[in-house]
């Protein structure tokens, strides 16, 4: 590394060609912006689909179906599921979306049996506005996830009209669960009567189990129970269900990683280009530096630090820019009523910074090596 006394010298070198430096920073920031956006999507997929040891929710869906329009299970399956050994609690749920297709602004209503839902989820929610009591009181009341409320600009007391359902915003909640952030919870009977004009049919059952280690065993027992029923079921852990239902979307996001790699290559090329050009401009200066006693290793390190600084400043501009846009937009990709949140976070800032440093070092290596190997006489002759 270099001594701190050289930092002002390097900064002066960077701002010497203001236009060129700004262009380089702009390019690096743009590429890092895209990289962080892609990483945020990948992170969202991981959060929504990767199971952890504590996950204990199973989703019971109609066999061979993923779209909530086509999964129709009789509500009377409920007591049979509850009787299965290892099942702690069951919440019947009707899911209504404006469209099963994938997009960024899909609204998902989840109709839930109020008492059962409150009993199971009260502790998961942190109320930002309204209250559970308000939600219980009105039959058309909706409990909105924070992301959905922010995206649609809704507050407590507003009327919310989407997917053919008109509801009253009784509460806005914050939750760690990705699937809670982008939905509107309403009363089950209200949604059934509004959409189907009849009671008794739900889209899925959310089942909590006693022991997370027995998830697969219990899922098999549920499916065996309804194997010969009119509507056979398919039961999977919640995150595995999301992974399978949103497989198309996840595949598409997987492809985006190549775009992320391309962005990093672009950062490398931009920083390297800037350093090469600036080193070419300063060959004579390097000769003078060597004449007054700077050794070749120090000159090399000064050049590498210059690359790191450009990489870090541009990288931070892009990273924070992406974070601001993602935070402000509260985007999530939705398919079949399931959400994959686009989420950035502190870890992405740290990795963005680390990548910028590494790319800055790599970009400066070759010009630094060339500059440090050049003899004083050759430097003076080169001009």
């Amino acid at each position: 590394m270099i001594a701190p006394k050289f930092v002002p010298f390097i900064l002066k070198q960077i701002i010497r060609h203001r236009a060129r430096t700004l262009l380089t920073l702009g390019g690096v920031a743009t590429a890092m912006f895209l990289f962080v956006a892609v990483q945020s999507m990948q992170r969202g997929v991981a959060i929504a689909t990767e199971q952890s040891a504590g996950d204990n929710t199973l989703i019971v869906y109609r066999e061979d179906r993923y779209c909530p329009f086509t999964s129709k299970l009789p509500e009377h399956y409920l007591p049979k599921i509850e009787r299965i050994a290892g099942v702690k609690a069951v919440v019947p749920m009707k899911v209504v979306v404006n469209n099963c297709r994938a997009s960024l602004d899909v609204v998902t209503f989840r109709g839930v049996a109020v008492d059962r839902f409150v009993e199971q989820n009260e502790s998961n929610f942190q109320f930002i506005g309204g209250s559970l009591a308000d939600w219980r009181k009105r039959s058309d009341a909706a409990l909105l996830g924070e992301t959905l409320a922010r995206r649609r600009g809704l507050k407590v007391g507003d009327r919310f009209d989407a997917a053919g359902v008109v509801s009253y915003v009784a509460g806005i909640v914050r939750s760690d669960e990705p699937q809670d952030q982008n939905v509107a919870y309403v009363h089950l009977d209200f949604l059934q009567q509004t959409v189907d004009r009849k009671l008794g049919i739900v889209t899925q059952f959310n089942v909590k189990v006693d022991d997370p280690k027995k998830m697969n065993e219990i899922a098999a027992a549920i499916d065996a129970e309804f194997r010969f029923a009119e509507q056979p079921t398919s039961t999977r852990p919640e995150k595995a269900f999301v992974a399978q239902a949103a497989a198309d979307m996840i595949e598409l996001i997987g492809f985006a990683k190549y775009l992320g790699i391309g962005c990093l290559v672009a950062v490398l090329a931009l920083v390297a280009n800037a350093i090469v050009l600036s080193v070419q401009d300063r060959i004579k200066e390097h000769a003078i530096l060597q004449t007054i006693g700077y050794d070749s290793s120090l000159i090399g390190r000064l050049i590498i630090t210059e690359g790191v600084m450009i990489g870090v400043i541009g990288g931070m501009l892009g990273t924070f820019g992406a974070l601001a846009v993602i935070e402000w937009g509260q985007y999530s990709l939705s398919i079949d009523g399931l959400s994959i949140p686009i989420q950035a976070g502190a870890s992405l800032v740290v990795s963005g910074l680390a990548i910028s440093i590494v790319l800055g070092v790599v970009a400066g290596l070759v010009p630094a090596w060339q500059a440090s190997r050049r003899s004083i006489a050759a430097c003076f002759r080169a001009v």
Binding site: H17, A19, R20, L23, T24, G26, G27, T30, A31, F33, L34, E63, D64, R65, Y66, C67, F69, T70, V97, N98, N99, C100, R101, A102, S103, L104, D105, A163, G164, V165, T194, V195, D196, R197, E230, Q231, P232, Q244, A247, D248, L252, L259, A266, A269, L270, N273, A274, L277, Q280, I335, V383
Partner: protein, 389 residues
Amino acid sequence: MRLLPFEYAVRNLGRSPLRLVMSVAGSALVVLLMIAASAFVRGMERSLADSGSPRNVILLGAGSEESIERSEIKSSVPTQAIASLRGIKSRLGQAYVSPEIHMALTVGIAREEQSTSQVVVRGVEFSAFLVHPQIRISEGRMFQPGNNEIIVGKLASTRLSMSEQHLALGKTIWFDDKAWTIVGRFEAPNTVMDAEIWAPLNDLKVSAKRDTISCAVLTLADGGELEDVSAFAASRVDLEIVAMSESEYYRKLIAFYQPVRMMIWVTAALIALGGIFGGLNTMYAAFASRIREIGTLQSLGYSRRAIVVSFVQESTLAAAAGALFAAAISLILFDGLAIKFSMGAFDLRMDGAALATGLAAGLILGIIGALPPALRCLHMPITQALKAA
């Protein structure tokens, strides 16, 4: 104004082969991406826009205007529409009314091997061919109701990520826990139907255990009006249906995908912006090293404007070469490429507009990349420029 010879710009390009390669490659990359983004968006829009006919009206469940798959109406609606409406087209006594079920289902080559991708399975009667004249059976024959036979669209294999062999005539596929035999293949170019599977309406009803249909599509006769059908839908409150033009339905689907299209354009624009930053940087360096040459040209009598024009020619030539290269590559790689996206599939369209978008981006890249550095270099007084290192 006396311009510099065109050859001056051309020869200057060869002065630094590495810089030329970088400029051409950078421009090619940006243009390739712009063409791909444009082809994707246009292919998706076209497949939706061409799917609807302005003379077709869809009767579907109230509140399900955004998605037919969600709609459920009584099976008697088509008959009631025929009995009540006068403006429906008919031929040899056969009304152009098609009762249909649209379901998004997973499909597999065996009972236990279901694809994770969903495909739209459409249950239809023979009248579907009257209201959807875009459909052509390209291989095999039409299904016979009652035998669990199906016909599959040309892009269904893309949609399901299956090989064509698995969807060949005579093969069996599984959906809804039943085996279905493929007896025909159809084409409906540039429409969503191209990626669908069609089954007999009643067979699908039995299999899905439903007694409702998703919608009824009817074709208006000359003089028939959408308003008449809307009035029928509004007057039959008991049926809980609405009438909408088929074109309008697909227009709304295009609007539904607006955020996705925006995301694609923003990504392409950001990459183009990165390309412009990189290009400008390279040009700044290229022109800055020629300050003395610029001073010489000015002292020879060439105006600043003529020098700028020559620099823009130089930059535009490199960018245009990259753009043409990208256009050729995209025609080879992308044209007609089937893409699956969100319950459907469509062909990438390498049409005039997509190519024009890419080429325009290349030219803009060339002009914007040269102007600011050229103008900056020309600010210097001639005497100072001639003294520059």
